[in-house]
């Protein structure tokens, strides 16, 4: 059975794929948003989409830090653990 972290990672990658218009396979953890053609507006859209789905609030200072797939996953994990 896949563990929770794995499912979470997959879900977030799917959301990023949807907003960036890329294939899920391209959304590897280490990939930078810029390489995916994700501009500043789309980066914020990804953050807001994450907040909406997991009913969390990303901290002010973390918003600008979400520039890679891995960072997006890390922020969600951290917020969910504190819930």
């Amino acid at each position: 059975m896949a563990d929770v972290a794995e499912i979470l990672g997959q879900e977030i990658r799917e959301m990023i794929a949807e907003i960036s218009g890329r294939e899920v396979e391209e959304i590897k953890p280490e990939v930078n948003f810029e390489e995916l053609g994700v501009d500043s507006i789309k980066a914020i859209e990804i953050t807001v989409a994450i907040e909406k789905k997991y009913k969390i609030r990303v901290k002010d200072e973390q918003v600008a830090q979400i520039t890679t797939v891995a960072k997006a996953i890390e922020v969600v994990k951290e917020a969910l653990e504190k819930k």
Partner: protein, 364 residues
């Protein structure tokens, strides 16, 4: 048939400049196009790619009529080597200055560097072309956003009406126009063209980059916020093909000197634009017209950032724009266009949808 001229063009890789370049070449004019190398891309390729976006060119035409010059408007004499300057002095009869930074959310310093200092360098170069050569007319591309938050009727001859500015873009373009006036006093004959939000051409809605209203459409269609601020005001759209044609006619056929023009091919209320987009693209969000009814404090920080990016429309919630002088001159030049309506809006939406810049919502 109007006389062929030799034109010096800045901003040839831009949304407006690339279409203008295509148009000028099609009309048989010779064009010197200034462009920068950017990252890995050479100036030459950047201009050719921008031109190719608007369709195939006749290679012979390009070889004989288009000369790409590597340069940078932030540098003195645009960074053009002396030898090439001499050639330009001999040949250039008109300048079209389209280069500008049109981003709203950058610092005032960044905007000024290109929009004010860059314009100064272009005008300084034009002065050289005029005093030593054959330059007759400069065409400076400006924006109706320079009226800032002014609530009155803004006319062609107005500039400083005590307005305040919503963005660094507005302020820098306003300062550029003040600079234009200084250079008019030094003897340059400068047309100023004030445009609204540049949008797709009228046949298929095609456009090279998705900026201004497209960015807002993108956020609207993302279905991420519960409400949007739709202030009372007019959205003045500038379909790229129509405004290029208007500018061309005003430049070629107007006998007036030092005139400002307001180009208003299509204007509608922001509320109407929102309603059309909502129906066609399919989102359910509420429209809030009164600033006091917005519940921004309830939003998360990320939502606030996203929300602020839709503020494009709060910038244009200004007063009316008059265009009587421009219409008069356009009338004399026999300029004709088909009136635009919702059908045009749908083309604009459909092109952005087709290019996957926005997505159809779930609420159709």
């Amino acid at each position: 048939m109007a006389k062929r001229q030799t034109i010096f063009l800045t901003g040839a890789t831009g949304i407006l400049g690339s279409y203008l370049l295509r148009f000028l070449l099609n009309e048989g004019h010779k064009v010197y196009a200034l462009a920068r190398d950017k990252e890995e891309q050479k100036a030459e390729n950047r201009v050719k790619n921008a031109l190719a976006f608007w369709g195939k060119s006749n290679p012979k035409d390009i070889a004989q009529k288009l000369i790409i010059i590597k340069g940078d408007i932030t540098q003195r004499y645009l960074g053009i080597p002396l030898k090439i300057q001499e050639l330009l002095i001999k040949e250039v009869e008109a300048v079209f200055h389209c280069a500008a930074l049109t981003k709203f959310n950058i610092s005032l310093d960044e905007s000024r560097e290109v929009n004010v200092n860059g314009t100064k360098n272009v005008l300084e170069t034009a002065l050289l072309f005029k005093t030593k050569g054959n330059l007759k007319k400069i065409n400076h591309i400006s924006t109706l956003f320079i009226r800032g938050n002014y609530k009155g009727v803004f006319a062609e001859n107005d500039l400083d009406v005590g307005q305040e500015f919503n963005t660094s873009y507005e302020k820098s373009k306003f300062e550029a126009e003040k600079m234009v006036n200084d250079y008019r006093k030094m003897g340059l004959d400068i047309n100023v063209f004030r445009l609204g939000a540049v949008t797709g051409e009228t046949e298929k809605g095609k456009i090279a980059k998705f900026e201004n209203v497209y960015q807002v459409l993108n956020i609207w269609s993302s279905d991420l916020l519960e409400f949007y601020y739709i202030p009372d005001g007019e959205l003045i759209m500038a379909p790229v093909d129509v405004v290029v044609k208007m500018m061309y006619f005003l430049w070629m056929y107007s006998k007036e000197v030092n005139t400002n023009h307001h180009l208003i091919p299509y204007s509608l209320t922001i509320a109407k634009f929102f309603a059309c987009a909502k129906d066609h693209i399919g989102f359910k969000q509420q429209m809030i017209a009164n600033k006091d009814d917005l519940r921004i404090e309830k939003l998360s920080y990320a939502q606030k950032v996203l929300f602020r990016k839709t503020y494009f429309f709060s910038s244009i919630a200004s007063g009316k724009v008059s265009h009587a002088l421009t219409d008069k001159v356009l009338g004399l030049s026999h300029f004709k266009m088909n009136p635009l309506d919702e059908v045009y809006l749908l083309k604009v939406f459909n092109y952005a949808l087709k290019m996957n810049f926005i997505k159809k919502g779930k609420y159709l």
